[in-house]
């Protein structure tokens, strides 16, 4: 198997799926009407509802949905062999991924821009809304745990990386001042800030700088401080959370936004350079196995764990939140939903295939991949990207640091936004009982402490599976909302119902399997350290909670579906 063949398969699936399947659904089932008024054209308040050209929305949608998910997921999942991962990335996107993204936008447009919380209230029940919002809070906590673990434990503990990340953040803050306070032209801001960020990444690889961070880490072999956590892991996990705290409390123009802007350039230059290097190199898969077996040690069986390990690269509940609250309120015409929703998801599939290739071809052998993965998935992507970049003349040491900064910055831009959401959510849920939670500093601090607890006590692969499970479960709940809406409006619904059932059963099975594994480990492993006991119990409790919440929502949803189906049958009988 050759890397170019994989890219070709991805492009064929994307173009073929879009033209043959997606377009058919858009025209025949949803019957998108370009002349019908969308909420953006109807309300046009200049705040939330503003008609925007589909090309602009496509770029915005893709940037919002592309995070660490399509990168880490495939890297971890190829442990079962390259074939299962490739099949899930392509077929998952073709049959389920674009369906969720596109239908979330359409339901938002047809329901006057209602958010998912409001839609679950309207279509399922008031209890449905409360459960969904609580579910989303725990899902956000798992994002913090999964990303925080990878960034704080894996990426930043590499001494070549921290300076590049810290400088990128400082430079990003500077960009905010240049744009908003000094009103400098955006082109100049880009040249200055991106140039400085790249220089910072290079500077971070210099021996003198690495020595400083080796000292921060407590030496070449970082000493263990407590609960099995080394000094390096402690320091960098705290630094990561401090950055997230700042991102949550500072005005968005001063911190989050300009850093996102600078990080976009770091990421897109890396992806572009990597793709060009890949096209020049054209590597084969070497000895990377097509299929290693039905079970992977430390992860679990192929079904259901593979399907939650690759989250955003195939299907992701996060996309439904972005689609319904963002893109649906800015769509100019109904017919734009397809290129924006489905198009962005197919593009994400191609993005996931790039990470898939970094894992399968970037290390030369399966053994080298496994050795590097033992230290963490971040090193796989960084090493793979460095190999691709070396074919366009980028030195490998710089390439590895660049890849690590790429991942870290991408994770951080999501993490501080997640803390913002968690702060707002906790103020809404418990603010009336605990008025202190309405304070932005207190709310953010509580979210940070919960996240650190998860980072310090959890095993990264397990947290990643939990995150994937919660993510995919939210996707199935989004598909359930769409299915209910389709049935209520008398349209064909099997194209969302079957994916919903598959995702629901798979993710519940994955969460139950994870809960069983962790409780079993606590119960049967003598001498387990307190941190592992606490970590396993927390992971298990979260898994059980998510399953219970999902089952309640599914029960309420199924009652509504049966009611609507009975009404349809009665209407059909009356007609006959």
């Amino acid at each position: 198997m050759n890397a170019l063949a994989v890219i070709a398969i991805g492009l064929v699936v994307a173009f073929g799926g879009y033209r043959l399947y997606s377009r058919t659904i858009d025209r025949r089932v949803m019957q998108a009407d370009p002349k019908k008024a969308t909420p953006a054209t109807l309300y046009m308040d200049g705040v939330d509802f503003m008609p925007t050209h589909r090309n602009v929305l496509f770029g915005y949608q893709f940037k919002s949905i592309a995070a660490l998910g399509p990168i880490i997921g495939p890297i971890v999942a190829v442990q079962w062999g390259w074939l299962p991962a490739l099949l899930w990335i392509t077929l998952g996107t073709l049959l389920i991924g674009w369906v969720q993204d596109y239908s979330s936008i359409m339901i938002g447009v047809r329901e006057q821009g209602l958010s998912f919380g409001a839609l679950s209230y309207k279509l399922i029940s008031p209890r449905g809304r409360v459960i969904l919002l609580t579910f989303i809070y725990f899902y956000l906590l798992l994002i913090m745990g999964a990303f925080g673990k990878i960034v704080g434990y894996d990426l930043l503990t590499n001494t070549a990386v921290p300076l590049g990340v810290l400088l990128a953040i400082l430079v990003g803050m500077g960009a905010g001042q240049l744009i908003y306070k000094m009103k400098l032209d955006i082109v100049w801001v880009t040249v200055i800030t991106v140039g400085l960020a790249l220089a910072g990444i290079w500077l971070g690889t210099q021996p003198a700088v690495r020595e400083v961070f080796t000292w921060v880490n407590g030496g070449e072999k970082s000493p263990v401080l407590f609960l099995g956590i080394t000094q390096a892991q402690f320091v960098w996990s705290v630094v990561v959370m401090a950055i997230c705290f700042l991102g949550a409390v500072l005005p968005i123009w001063a911190f989050a936004q300009p850093i996102n802007y600078v990080s976009f350039w770091i990421v897109s230059l890396g992806v572009l350079g990597g793709l060009v290097g890949l096209l020049i190199w054209r590597p084969g898969f070497g000895d990377f196995p097509m299929f290693t077996g039905w079970e992977v040690q430390g992860l679990g069986p192929l079904w259901p764990i593979l399907f939650v390990t690759i989250a955003c690269g195939a299907i992701s509940g996060w996309h439904s939140l972005v689609s319904s609250s963002g893109s649906a309120r800015q769509l100019e015409k109904e017919t734009d939903a397809l290129p924006v929703g489905a198009g962005a998801m197919y593009m994400e599939m191609v993005f996931a295939l790039t990470a898939f290739l970094a894992a399968t071809v970037g290390f030369g052998s399966f053994a080298a991949y496994k050795t590097t993965l033992a230290k963490g998935p971040g090193g796989i992507f960084a090493g793979g990207l460095a190999t691709f970049l070396s074919y366009i003349g980028v030195p490998k040491t710089f390439g590895v640091a660049y890849g690590s900064v790429f991942l870290t910055i991408m994770a951080l831009t999501i993490m501080y936004l997640v803390i913002r959401f968690m702060r707002v959510a906790s103020a809404e849920f418990v603010g009336d009982f605990v008025p202190a939670m309405k304070n932005i500093y207190v709310g953010s601090f509580v979210a940070i402490v919960l996240s650190l607890l998860l980072v310090w006590t959890g095993f990264w692969q397990r947290i990643w599976v939990l995150f994937g499970g919660a993510n995919q479960l939210m996707a199935s709940l989004a598909l359930m909302l769409v299915t209910i809406w389709l049935i209520a409006s008398g349209r064909e619904y099997r194209w969302t119902m079957y994916p919903m059932i598959f995702m629901f059963v798979t993710t519940v099975a994955a969460l139950l399997y994870t809960a069983y594994s962790v409780f079993y480990q606590v119960a049967t492993t003598p001498g387990l350290t307190p941190d592992k006991v606490v970590g396993n119990l927390i992971a298990g409790a979260i898994a059980v909670f998510l399953v219970v919440a999902a089952l309640i929502l599914a029960w309420d949803g199924s009652k509504v579906i049966r009611t609507h189906q009975a009404a349809r049958l009665r209407a059909a009988a009356a007609k006959a």
Partner: protein, 127 residues
């Protein structure tokens, strides 16, 4: 050019040979094709620019728009709130507190509206 059968322009009589006719036809097709490809390229460039805008600064623009919109909403609320049936603090409390200041309104108004010049400060401590 003379109009031939089917309304087509015929240059045969002017150009004088099939070769010239063919050359003209090729040139015409190239020009139209180039024009079409140029239009396609322009559309592609515009689309790429829009996608790039969406990926880069669009969220900043959205955020600015929202901040501006929220300030305008606040202004409308404060200024026109009572007209919309929303009891805004100044008019509501002004009515509640009016009985306490009713007898002071006359002197207050006189003091506020009185013309002043710099000689008014002669009675103050200077220096």
């Amino acid at each position: 050019m003379a109009k031939g059968k089917g309304g087509r322009c015929s240059v045969r009589s002017e150009a004088g040979s099939p070769f010239a006719l063919m050359t003209l036809e090729i040139r015409r097709r190239l020009a139209t094709g180039r024009g079409r490809w140029a239009a396609r390229l322009r559309r592609l460039r515009r689309a790429a620019g829009q996608i790039f805008y969406g990926m880069t600064v669009f969220d900043m623009v959205m955020e600015l728009r929202k901040a501006k919109g929220r300030r305008e909403e606040l202004f409308t609320l404060v200024v026109f709130g009572p007209l919309l049936g929303i009891p805004i603090i100044p008019p509501y409390w002004a009515l509640r507190l009016l009985p306490f200041i009713a007898d002071k309104v006359g002197p207050w108004r006189r003091s506020l509206m009185r013309e002043r010049d710099f000689t008014d400060i002669i009675d103050q401590e200077i220096g």
